[in-house]
Symmetry: D2
Subunit: 386 residues, 4 copies
């Protein structure tokens, strides 16, 4: 069994978000950190560091327009030179003043047109650099009861999705993300997995749901949603992060590592870990107070640790106890895997991959952190919202 | 406008739950009240009182086996004599010892068979008395991670639903209810509207989703779900009640009357109030510490008041403000209706219907409450769970 | 009774926050509005408009350093000329880069010193302009388990509070606000009323707790806290706003008007509405997408409406039903007041005060909104965070 | 370090609840299990089994009147013969019909008198058998706004507590438990730690707060409360259990083992693990669907595992990283302890104590489970609520 586990861990892939390397914060304050990238190219360089030490994070997701460049092919080439590739294209229709009352669901048809055009642009960018996935998240919603018609906004949303979906080439996918609230505080137009699922179902096979682990109401059982969408073949991707309260965007696995294990158990149980299964595992985090690169390394490692534990579950013993209605026995099999310290196993896997067994220490020793602090002086630091 | 509002209020219908007239409580204690019914017949008599004074509650939902009788045609006739009719048949597969680990999703196929047979029995009972709706709520789920396979339980659930759906006659409907948690504390097999929706979609047009207003995670926007399911033509019924925390089953409109107004606004906006729209409006409450009959009367009145306010929304002015992006203006139109005191209007409507304008006072004067306390001595009181 | 109600409404006072007139938003985007003030003086002018049309909002709370001026006496004189006065001084120790890991609880003693010095400055400013209340809210906390010692941070907090309290003159008060989370996402150093209460208790009589209605965990019964702190004589002030999810900072009364009524009922029941009772009623809101001045007017009116309903509760009938254990009767007395349309009563009260019965319409007719859009061109708009 | 850890683990103590061995369930159904005790004596026998295999659970808490016997000295002697002793006396004032509207806060003074008399009886029972702690939990509250006066109920509560406190002998303590909701659904008279703390403060040093880990609002940071009450010297005891949603009463550590570790970290950091520190660590769980004795054994082991991890935290390294503001470093030190597999260490500790390293397996082999199924036939099974 161990060799199969090692093999699975070697081929696991986690995608990094370009925006995690820029400054981020809350509405109260964005704290600037030294050495933060000023261009999409510098973000790619930082992401490449994460891959260099973990070996399993070879792609960088972009956010348009935050990562807008004149020549995406050039950016892709730059990434390749640094040992990584471009990943999912994330559309952003929430930062123009026009979008105050919504983007694709705005009451004003001109604003809706502008927003849809941006979505189409994202599909084209993705096509240009050969990227499969375009991810859509809409901040659209309302703040006050009566402000707009819930139903009419759904009609507008459906229209925008149809038009975007029609632009996809045969190899592309549309990933639709849902979120309970924020920045809208009364209604959100895609608030839950059911809404995303229903829209994706009407669009067709190339439309898939994204689960952001921080986008649910308190008490929501996320692994249930994972299992359900897998069964329906409608799970397209994860945005991994952690939360204690709302969409806190902390490092994945830092708030509730047991939950992350339960999520990965559903993935492993459905044999959906391998890349052919079509699930994109992405990080989507904000490192407001901690240094960004080591935080991303730590996050990748947290995903690996949860995965390793999930791979160690004795599925035969589990199924046997489940069939027998042995509540304590089944739970014990499950917890036995969770309680295992998988760090030695992962250190071995890293050695097999020619990596340092301790990625954080290796990065710290490299001097890269000091180097960017020294070199990246002047210019406009990239921010989560910029 | 007023006459249309009055007309709509005169034809509005609310279904009463037989079990609300029996004793109920929490896991800590069921407090017995005097005069509580001991048979389904006495429950029907009590329900008839609610209709007598409100004029809009002419049907009584049954819970099988709580309301099992030898001859349902006889019970239907008894109801008719008392001025009411039988309503939705509610299946109950959670009170046999066999169901400890689930009913239709139990690991044991024999238990699943037993549970499905009960569902089929309910379809047959409904057919026998000419009732359209069979409502299914499953307490099925697990308490501990690993206890059972989330996905396999979905397979079992789908199988049970298919078999039950196949038993429906052309005029019948299967109503599927969802609930976040309780009595299961880790996973619930139908935890949210998305799950119920997806199953109903596969079953076909006669399968519809039930929204119980107390069955959501904190922060869930229920009126969004109402609007969404109406747009998808998949909303079949409401179980009305109130909650401050979990599934508290308090009187509808008592915890958040503004929310009830917002829900009824979506109903009115979609022209789904009229009986032809196919939405069943039912109460599902537990009157643990208050007398049952006046509590049901008060609940029906709360639904009426929220509906009257929703009917008073100036839809033209609202749409105009919404189109203009006038956030405060649209909200003001909406709140103007909510802030109206509709009790005089409803008193008028009742007078037009030949009723006392104050149903609670009329009931209190009738002496019925004292009469049942005096007469219903001995025997086994009906309980929510029995 | 009515005349007493009118009298109470005439003397009710609501304090306005200077920052509500500036731009605000979420971490995703701050949408700029035209005509927004660029200086503390312009904020005072806008606030004076709200008082002009409502007659019950004669003071403006300041936020230091957002409203820092060279000469506070001059600002106070300017306010007086515009018919209003300066109110509570709000300390702000969350927007310097130094405060990334906390202010008064920061691990670094130099940062703590800087933060405490700012608190002392706020006390001095308040003393200088004769303001009674200094309000403290700390964004301090941690994002990750283990990041800092919960207990040691309490020691540091206690020290800062002691030093600040010692600076108060005999007529001043220290108001301590609590908040569940945001911007800290794991621990917050003053997360709940119990923590604020315990610290205030040790400080002495001049330290009082502030309840911000948006700062609680889901399901928290705020009116219970109001009643409890009133009984303990430790309730000093309210920050009023509304929330559906987290600290949404919507207009007070817009999300759950029934809750606001219940809160005001506790105030009225304890005879704490009158200014001599020592409770400061303040707004603390962000008008992210709606125009600021009419939103403040609407908010003041919402507080008035909830108060009027609370004043209409028949306390004798309520107490009688409560004593008798008449659950439905007591609730009916309570709801009777809530269901009353108090807008005509408030229109009368405004006429008696020489005001337009419809403050929003009067403001809209005044042309002030257009005037500031035309005049306030150039310069740096004030923002919630600036 | 390891020997100190082992020593701490050897002397750690966990108290068992007699009621966990009886049947329990939800308002929907109590599923009966075979072999369940029928008397307090049989409950003590079962509890003795848990101690036999874990070695750290030598006392059994009683619930009066569930565990009422004619002669408590006799019961204490019986326990001693079985290798255990009697523990905390839990008062129960929620299961008489008189308590429908409350016990010590009931509007009816006669009911309040009855309830207080029961509390005094519990103090006397505890004194009689030499037990230090009397634990009070009140189900008191209201279901509907207006039903009763929040403030007046606090006055009644304070009076009951004063009278009970006065009855304590110098060696006794009054432990006051709080709970967010259930069975009351609108207000609860002791809903949060702040309320319990404030009452205990007024009572005096012998009054201490109990933290039940399942009694909080969603998102509440329990370890903060632990740290705060320890700092205030007002933490008296824990009721351990797990929850995903509300007061689910699952096995401690089964829903969020990382949270349990964080709680135990605060205990260890304050050197409050040792019995002299005055913190009683109790289980309070309902094993609705799993066998009771092995579930209790597993629960004790879960507490031990979380404790062992907390004992392994490198406090020097942690403090150093915290002082340096090294967010990732401090978190890494913390997680290093959590990620350690402490099961081998605990197996060693058990061997040192002369116990089987695998308590569950040892119990299963003992045949005790089969024996009680065979012997305990007839009679009335004990239930959580009986």
């Amino acid at each position: 069994m161990t060799e199969a586990v090692r093999a699975a861990l070697r081929v696991q892939r986690v995608e990094l978000p370009s925006w995690a390397f820029g400054n981020s914060g809350t509405r109260f304050k964005v704290f600037a950190q030294r050495g933060v990238p000023r261009t999409p190219f510098e973000k790619v360089q930082d992401a490449a560091q994460v891959h260099r030490y973990t070996g399993v994070a070879p792609t960088v997701a972009l956010h348009i327009p935050w990562d807008r460049v004149d020549d995406y092919t050039h950016l892709a080439g730059f990434a390749k030179e640094h040992g990584v590739g471009l990943g999912t294209i994330n559309a952003n229709v929430f930062q123009d003043d026009d979008y105050m009352l919504g983007s694709v669901t705005n009451p004003d048809p001109a604003v809706r047109r502008k927003a849809i055009d941006h979505l189409l642009e994202c599909v084209d960018i993705a096509a240009q650099v050969g990227v499969r996935d375009v991810k859509l998240w809409f901040s659209d919603g309302t703040n006050y009861p009566g402000q707009d018609s819930i139903r009419v906004r759904q009609d507008r949303l459906a229209q925008a999705l149809r038009e975007t979906y029609a632009r996809l080439n045969p190899d592309q996918r549309l990933l639709l993300e849902y979120k309970l609230f924020e920045p809208a505080f009364y209604t959100t137009d895609v608030p839950d997995w059911g809404t995303a699922y229903a829209h994706c179902l009407r669009l067709g096979e190339k439309a898939q749901v994204v689960i952001d682990t921080g986008h649910h109401a308190p008490g929501t059982n996320i692994e249930f949603i994972v299992a359900f969408l897998l069964r329906e073949q409608k799970l397209g991707a994860f945005d991994f992060n952690s939360r204690f309260y709302a969409d806190d965007d902390l490092m994945v696995g830092s708030a509730d590592p047991f939950q992350l294990f339960r999520i990965m158990h559903e993935i492993v149980s459905a044999d959906a870990l391998k890349s052919g299964a079509g699930i994109a595992f992405m990080l989507d985090q904000c490192h407001n107070i901690e240094p960004k690169i080591p935080a991303q390394i730590r996050s990748v490692m947290n995903v690996q640790e949860a995965t390793a534990k999930a791979l160690l579950v004795d599925h035969d013993a589990l199924a046997e106890a489940q069939r027998a209605g042995d509540v304590l026995g089944a739970n014990a099999v499950f917890m036995d895997a969770y309680n295992t310290d998988v760090r030695p196993l992962l250190a071995d896997v890293r050695r097999e991959m020619g990596l340092d067994p301790d990625p954080v220490a290796a990065y710290q020793r490299s001097g890269y952190g000091d180097k960017i602090v020294a070199e990246r002086v002047g210019g406009q630091q990239a921010g989560w919202g910029a």
